[in-house]
Assembly symmetry: C2
Homo-oligomer: 246 residues x 2
């Protein structure tokens, strides 16, 4: 039975990190809420409300793998990494890959908050002023710090600077690709400037994008375009340095 991925049907969001791993490892899966001709959303919402399972996830994405129902993006990738060729087999390698993934998850949370610094449930337009301040700080200090960290990890990898961990791609590389792609969509002006300092991160992005299964996926209809409902949103007014208020 193929795995079942549960995620919102109209955005890449956090589900995309799982989709990229499933696609790259050629794992059969059903994207439950996106099946043609079916409305899978109610079954996702039923699992979330907790009456149908004793171990309900707090939020999508979650993955059904036989009897397991696994929530939290990084946890799903940890599971997939232990079953498929998406992470090292050694304990040290698995922990290091997971550590990098959790750091990517931290950036992703911060990216979300550039457009929703006050409350997820409010509209962007209701927190626009705060978003400008937060996005300015993200662009000026957080994005360079995080991306510079990944550049340093690539440069320091004793097995070469092609991948984050060892000499072969892991789910963390796929996720770093997605982070760069998302940041380019959300903050094209800032990223153009930032990328000058990130040759290894940019090369990794390109290397992942050209992997045959990833390239096929990105060209397919399975890849939802970036849009202003997801985590990486392009609001031009957030893509530039602003003077900080005091």
């Amino acid at each position: 039975m193929p795995y079942e991925l549960y995620y919102w049907p109209s955005i890449q969001g956090r589900g995309e990190f799982v989709r990229l791993a499933l696609e790259d490892a050629d794992i059969a899966y059903v994207d439950v809420a996106r099946q043609p001709g079916k409305n899978g959303l109610p079954s996702m919402l039923r699992l979330l409300d907790g009456r149908e399972c004793v171990q309900p996830p707090f939020a999508p994405p979650f993955l059904r793998a036989g009897k397991l129902l696994i929530g939290q993006t990084a946890n799903i990738l940890l599971f997939l990494g232990s079953r498929y060729d998406l992470a090292p087999r050694t304990e040290a390698g698995r922990l290091w890959t997971h550590q990098l993934q959790l750091t990517i998850a931290d950036v992703v949370n911060e990216v979300h908050d550039t457009h929703h610094p006050i409350a997820s449930r409010l509209y962007y337009r209701d927190q626009r002023q705060e978003a400008r301040r937060r996005a300015a700080d993200f662009i000026a200090t957080r994005a360079p710090k995080y991306l510079g960290y990944f550049e340093q990890v690539l440069a320091g990898n004793p097995r070469g600077d092609k991948f984050l961990v060892g000499a072969r791609p892991t789910y963390a590389d796929l996720s770093l690709f997605q982070l760069v792609a998302g940041l380019r969509y959300a903050f094209p002006r800032a990223m153009t400037r930032l990328e000058r300092q990130l040759p290894l991160v940019v090369a990794l992005h390109d290397r992942v994008a050209s992997r045959p299964r990833i390239a096929a996926y990105l060209a397919s209809e399975r890849r939802i375009p970036f849009n202003e409902e997801g985590i990486f949103r392009h609001y031009p007014e957030l893509d530039r340095p602003v003077t900080r208020r005091r």
Copy 2:
């Protein structure tokens, strides 16, 4: 050789989730930056700057365990859970425990942002107005949603409602204790109201607090008091519902 925990010396912060696990499992450790008569902070900062190790952590806490240097709080707990009696031995149990821990990590991030919704590097006083809006939403919607989720998980545990996972305590229970303790410190008025709906979560907090090693730890000087430099901060003006601006 005892483990070495690296974390800021004057706050509980994210390091506290690791300290509680080390204390409860009676694991020998050195709290590097807090050794009496020694200044361990420089050695922590040297590891963070990445020139002394090829797998530098992005931020504290991190744990040195022999040759391993493990970063990211949840990742450290995943490691400790695999070595000590702090998590189930089955794959399903380990993943579920980790999933809950990652959800606790999400709440902790949101708690941090109640007082720092704009930028970590700015002072609270420079983002006070935004903090009031964010804290009001946290109290009104996010805290009830997260804590209600853990209440539901306890109620649904087929092995009884004493612990989150199975019939024995895990690192996720220790962390849920810390979350409740921190929220009580930060938002005493809001929590008094909220706790009426959370009998199982409150009972779990008390159960963890009375575990002999945890009780001894909490009464010791090793437990840093909550303060306004950490994640859980008590600013009375954030501890009440405010009318939302439009």
